[in-house]
């Protein structure tokens, strides 16, 4: 935020990847039986990362730097093919980086010390944190792809080994969907670089180079089937990977299985962060590298995003399993983010960026609440829960705040993002904005029904529902604080990201 200037000699961003990895190495070297030490190492590594990221956020200056990128580090990696190690941070990635560090700290904090094979669990979480940080920081397309794929392996094992119910099925479905998207993106990445080489003679996978020479041209389909614009084709290649990760309707079918099967620390990361990486990819690559294609294909994707809002909301309404309910709520909210992105105007994109952080905070908190309820009552079935609030007033109060943030009450963070997105969508596509508005109403319905049904109706049924403990409040505190801070000072985020968003090629066309 430009509060101070950081020395440029320190590789700040590399450290954000290296610290979790070093933590993982230390965990690997710790004996399996030292469970307390393992968990504390995990907390320590992710806490240091969070501190580091906060230092970076504090030293970030508005609208400074080449393409508004700061803390850049560029080194040759595989020079013969034009691959480099290039990292940097701008308005698109800055706050997600913070969210990343925060959610991983929370995920490790809420990991039960009784988790089987705790060592491998913490190890994989730390590796995952390094990979997701790398995704947000990479400015070389191959480097980005390496981190993108590297993220898959820990997630696959975290779901497949520590999950519940049909975990192997869920993990495998997730894997196959993601890999299909990834390879489509890989081919698109190779093609982007090849086209750029043909057009400019410069062999590079560097985002800062490619963004200045948008691909153009038309590909004649064989057998006289017509022609398709090359930017559109490449746009779709990237879009498939990001749409699956987000997920965008109708590529969401892996989501309920994976979210429901994941253990709570994993689902916090998966819903809170990984889904946003898909949205981030749309902004960083689709909108920046293919502005023309974004204009021509944006409306179609906006329709899909709006469908996702309504579909997710309706599905959330009919769920009885609370984890599934929150999973579909998450999907519905991601639809808003998609709508904002594909509206393709300043308000929409700013709203989407704000909402990405908000969604991460809110969904993580909701999943934590579900986990706390399940731990106390042994069930996630909405029908079996009644009147919990009478026994645990503090629990009820905190849950109410989170619920209100989730349904977008003004004064809390959810409203800020949704409002900006609705404004952006209204300028771009009025009917979609109206449909999204219905989604807001549905959100109020399913969220309040969840809260009222389980906490308010008397008589209090499951006896001995325990009040929130200090540790529980401690985990929720940073999330609640963010909900209120963002809610009452809504201009904070948009101002910080405005310079970067205004420079996005899609807005310049």
């Amino acid at each position: 935020m430009g509060w101070y200037a950081l020395p440029t000699t320190v590789p700040w961003l590399t450290l954000a990847v290296v610290i979790p990895l070093s933590g993982a190495l230390l965990v690997a070297l710790t004996p399996t039986v030292a469970r307390r030490v393992i968990k504390q190492l995990g907390i320590l590594a992710s806490a240091i990362t969070l501190l580091l990221v906060l230092v970076i956020v504090g030293g970030f200056q508005h609208g400074v730097g080449n393409l508004h990128l700061q803390f850049e580090e560029a080194r040759q990696w595989v020079p013969t093919v034009g691959i480099s190690y290039h990292v940097g941070v701008d308005g698109l990635s800055l706050f997600l980086l913070g969210l990343n560090a925060l959610l991983f700290l929370i995920a490790i904090l809420v990991t039960s010390p009784a988790t089987p094979r705790l060592k491998q669990f913490i190890l994989l979480l730390l590796i995952l944190e390094a990979a997701t940080a790398g995704i947000l920081l990479s400015l070389d397309l191959i480097l980005f792809y390496v981190f993108w794929e590297a993220m898959l392996v820990p997630l696959y094992f975290l779901i497949g080994v520590w999950g519940e119910g049909p975990r192997v099925y869920a993990a495998f479905k997730f894997l196959i969907y993601t890999v299909i998207g990834s390879f489509a993106m890989l081919v698109a990445i190779l093609a982007v670089a090849a086209i750029n080489f043909a057009q400019t003679g410069q062999l590079s996978f560097d985002w800062t180079v490619l963004v200045q020479h948008p691909a153009s041209g038309v590909w004649q389909l064989p057998l006289n089937l017509g022609a398709i614009g090359i930017p559109q084709l490449l746009f779709l290649g990237f879009a498939l990977a990001f749409a699956i990760k987000m997920p965008l309707f109708p590529l969401h079918t892996w989501l309920p299985a994976a979210y429901t099967a994941s253990p709570i620390p994993v689902v916090i990361v998966l819903a809170g962060l990984v889904s946003k990486l898909g949205a981030y990819g749309f902004l960083r690559f689709n909108l920046a590298l293919f502005p023309d294609a974004a204009h021509s294909l944006g409306p179609a994707l906006a329709v899909l995003a709006t469908t996702g809002i309504l579909y997710g909301a309706f599905m959330a309404l009919v769920q009885t399993d609370l984890k599934r309910l929150v999973a579909y709520a998450s999907m519905s909210h991601l639809g808003f983010i998609g709508l904002g992105i594909f509206a393709g105007n300043l308000l929409g994109i700013e709203g989407a960026l704000v909402q990405m952080v908000n969604h991460g905070v809110i969904i993580a908190a909701l999943f934590l609440i579900v986990a706390m309820i399940e731990r106390r009552t042994g069930t996630r079935d909405r029908a079996q829960l009644r009147g919990l609030g009478a026994r645990a007033p503090l629990f009820a109060a905190l849950f109410l705040v989170i619920s209100l943030a989730a349904l977008g009450l003004p004064g809390l963070n959810g409203f800020v993002g949704e409002f900006l997105i609705m404004l952006g969508a209204w300028t771009a596509f009025v009917p979609l904005a109206v449909a999204a508005g219905i989604g807001v109403i549905l959100a109020a319905w399913y969220v309040l029904r969840f809260y009222q049904g389980s906490f308010q109706e008397a008589p209090p049924q499951p006896a001995g529902f325990i009040e929130m403990r200090v540790a529980d409040v401690g985990v929720l505190a940073p999330l609640l604080a963010l909900m209120i801070v963002i809610g009452v000072s809504p201009a904070f985020f948009p101002a910080a990201v405005e310079a970067t968003v205004k420079a996005l090629p899609v807005l310049l066309r």
Binding site: T80, V81, E149, L152, G160, I176, I180, F183, A194
Partner: protein, 488 residues
């Protein structure tokens, strides 16, 4: 190419590494008569020393272009690249051998002699620039391997494997030789240089010369057989399964590498002017290999068979790099071969180490919960599986990336799309192994065995190389680029 006018062009320096390996084989042959049975480890030690000497002798050949013996062999960077690769594989195999041989009661000196003989044959094949020397190399490596695959004399499976390999291999050799005869008939030369000169000189005529094209076709069948590319792969699963695992380990990486050295020299260096003729059949072989290898691997419950089919699939990826006929494509091929050698050797070596417990150990069910019984083996196996699947940060990822990049640059779309789809399929069977190893163990009795020091070092080194090359691929890629560029 400089022609050595000194008589027949005798230049022993150019084939010094091959000579050293052959010499070591002969030394070991005699030592075997003197060394008492309980000291057979010495034979392994002598073999390693000889191989290391050959490695040192290879270094001066880097960057040279020494044609020798009347243009029948050449000492160039490509040969040096393969020499290093093959010698390293051979050394690693020898290092793992003594323990395994003793466990299976196969501790005979002939093993090392045959291994060295096969290595010499492969090195010769990589350096061969004449149909005669190609044949010589192939025969030397094949005959050694026929015997090696039947080395477990008392095991019926091993006998069956050797018999199958011998019969089918002999058949393939017939094709190869017939192809060579036809090419000689068409071009009047046995040296690749002479053949290339003929095809270039006859211009368009060469691409409609039926004799020549038929010859190339038969030659391809013989070479594809050695590289175990589909549809000439039928022997692979049975032989890999039946042969002693250690032999399979060596065979699966070394034979394939040497075969691709020859394929590169023949197709890219000798017949570039008729590339439009061999492009389609070669693309078809590659696509077949990708389909059959990856799809059949899914159904395998025996790890040796699974890795055999995965090897067929990888032959397909490697062939894809030949298709563009460019230096870029060929350097991607060379990088892939080096990466494949490291990761596949490692994977088979893990099967070998477990295999000392008996034949049942290659069944996937035996691997249940391996993470809790043998954490080290399971961890390195995970690394090899991820690398074979092509997940970063492992060498397998960059190997595939470079091949895909060469295809995109050459605008070869159909094989690329097949390769991409089949790579997705391959995730299933590679990751299945990892999932099985993570599953809860069935039996409660936990038998924890220690891995021997030399075996542990070899496995650790292979795993480390898999990851290090996956993070810093530039060095090996530069070597590959240099070795590949000599052709053009």
């Amino acid at each position: 190419m400089t022609i050595n006018l000194n008589g027949l062009g005798i230049d022993y320096g150019a084939i010094l590494p091959e000579l050293i390996v052959t010499g070591t084989a002969i030394v070991v042959l005699f030592l075997d008569l003197i060394v008492p049975a309980e000291r057979r480890r010495w034979l392994a030690a002598v073999s390693v020393v000889g191989l290391l000497a050959a490695l040192v002798a290879t270094i001066p050949l880097w960057g040279q272009n020494r044609a020798a013996f009347g243009d029948t062999v050449v000492a160039d960077s490509l040969a040096a690249f393969f020499n290093v690769l093959l010698i390293v594989i051979s050394i690693l195999t020898v290092l793992v051998s003594p323990r395994f041989l003793r466990a299976l009661d196969l501790d005979h000196g002939e093993y090392y002699i045959l291994l060295l003989g096969a290595t010499a044959g492969m090195m010769l094949l990589a350096a061969a620039t004449s149909l005669m020397t190609i044949f010589l190399g192939i025969e030397l490596l094949s005959i050694s391997l026929y015997v090696l695959s039947g080395f477990a004399r008392t095991a019926l499976r091993s006998q069956e494997s050797a018999m199958k390999y011998l019969l089918l291999g002999g058949f393939a050799t017939g094709f190869l030789l017939y192809g060579m005869a036809l090419i000689y008939g068409a071009t009047g030369s046995t040296t690749l240089q002479g053949i290339a000169a003929f095809t270039t000189a006859s211009g368009l005529g060469a691409s409609s010369n039926v004799l020549l094209l038929l010859g190339i076709g038969f030659l391809s069948v013989g070479l594809a057989f050695k590289a175990s590319a589909a549809p000439f792969h039928m022997w692979t699963p049975d032989v890999y399964e039946g042969a002693p695992t250690l032999v399979t380990t060596f065979m699966s990486v070394a034979t394939k590498s040497a075969a691709f050295a020859a394929i590169g020299r023949v197709f890219i260096a000798t017949f570039p002017s008729i590339a439009s003729r061999w492009y389609f059949p070669l693309a078809l072989i590659a696509i077949f290999s990708l389909f059959i290898g990856n799809l059949v691997a899914i159904t395998q419950d025996n790890l040796k068979r699974m890795l055999a089919y995965s090897g067929i699939a990888h032959a397909g990826y490697i062939l894809l790099g030949i298709l563009p006929g460019t230096a870029e494509g060929f350097s991607a091929t060379l990088f892939y071969i080096a990466g494949y050698a490291v990761m596949n050797f490692g994977a088979f070596a893990v099967v070998t180490v477990l295999g000392s417990g008996g034949e049942r150990t290659a069944e996937l069910s035996y691997w249940r919960g391996l993470f809790y019984r043998r954490p080290f083996l399971a961890t390195v196996m995970t690394i090899f599986m991820l690398s074979l699947a092509g997940i970063p940060p492992t060498v397998g990822f960059f190997a595939k990336l470079f091949i895909f990049r060469a295809l995109v640059d050459a605008q070869i779309w159909a094989p690329l799309i097949v390769a991409v789809i089949m790579t997705i399929v391959s995730f299933y069977y590679y990751l299945r192994v990892v999932v099985v190893m993570l599953a809860a163990p069935e039996e409660t009795t936990v038998e924890r065995e220690r891995v021997g020091i030399s075996t542990g070092t070899v496995l650790g080194a292979a795993a480390a190389a898999t990851i290090i090359l996956g993070i810093f691929p530039a060095v090996v890629l530069n070597w590959a680029t240099h070795a590949a560029s000599l052709h053009f």
